[in-house]
Amino acid sequence: MALFINGIGCISPQRTFDNSEFLAEVKEYSTNRLTCVDADYTKFFDAGSIRRMGRLMKYGTAAGMIAIRDAGIEVPGAISTGTALGLPEVSQRFLKSLIEVDETIVSPTTFIQSTHNTVSSNIALLCKCFSHNNTFSHKGFSFESALTDAQLLVLENMDNILVGAYDEVSDYKYAAMKKTKELRSEPSSNLDVYGEKGNGVIAGEGAAFFVLAKEKTENTYGMFVSNKAFYKPESTEEMRNHILSFLKTNNSSLEDIDVVISGISGAKETDAIRIDLNKNLFATQTIVAYKHLCGEYMTSSAFAFWLASKMMKAQQIPDAVILENKNRSPKNILLYNSHKHNHSLMLFKAC
């Protein structure tokens, strides 16, 4: 079911929290770990609340509140979020203290913030949304599951659904990525992650939220048409068939697509299908990449959703994201993301 994107909020390793800007200045990092550029959180929470919040809780909740304010609503009809790892930094602090005190008594604050649904619950408390509130945690399909949930809720006659995703790169996660050699072995510029030199991803994080609605408003960014997820496609040919079938199901075709947002990450092995498709299937489309801006994490497709929304509304593609320019206007956008074996497609249409 197609829905209008009426409000957005994104906090990422780039300066994205201000909706009046659109990647005017791209932040360059000489490290393989990108962390969020913080907004002024005192605009969202009182001092008493801020002191208890962990890092992700702050930027996740703020991103949700930015989207709600941007849509010009007070209370969303429902909240549906996705997070692959929840709030690992706080959870790990809680577990560590549990061991240190020999499982006797531990801080209630870290316990309260240790659940995956802490951010969506906090948003609900702040805006007094006592309706449906669900958090999906399915690795690289977490945000995609929240989107499907929103579409189903609208079919059940709900409206103005706040959908979002959030994840953080904790010390533990970063160490694990290093150990499994997923990361680029040496710190490199994030803006050079797709070049021939080097192999591996840069770790990232972020939170992005959207208000999806049945009706268009003056603030509408564009239309989210559909999404579909695929597990472990074996070949370029299989993925090619999935893409063509997905477009056909949505009464579209490859010729209609102007811009492809590619989830290319810099890891040569996992990028193989995407590079092949970029060369051979998307020959006439402008190809855009984003993981050099936000890094690789399991819900990075939410950052790409934000990028699609901004491009549709501005009818502009920032130079910083263009991989191959075919001078197409961002009217119809196809997003093809993947995180390891979790592949997903999303279709957008400018209004």
Partner: protein
């Protein structure tokens, strides 16, 4: 006693993450809850944890909380009286 009060102020700031305060900003007899520092029920739980972890003191009767945690001085008095 004054040494314990000074230590407690540092520990309270750390345990409750009161980054906007310095130890000297907290008066010895300033109320900690509501009209004073504005602490709440979760902070009360944090203070119980602080007592147990740092001083090995369990608050035997939770109803004593409002009296014990009224000010930094009352906490110091309670620690002095109950420390083994």
């Amino acid at each position: 006693m004054s040494e314990l009060i000074a230590t407690l102020k540092v520990q309270i700031i750390e345990q409750l993450n009161l980054q906007h305060l310095k130890p000297e900003d907290i008066g010895d007899d300033q109320p900690l809850f509501v009209e004073g520092l504005g602490l709440d029920s979760i902070d009360a739980l944090e203070l119980i944890v602080l007592l147990q972890q740092r001083y090995g003191i369990k608050l035997a009767n939770p109803q004593d909380g409002p009296t014990v945690f009224k000010t930094v001085r009352t906490i110091a008095d309670y620690i002095t009286a109950h420390k083994k």
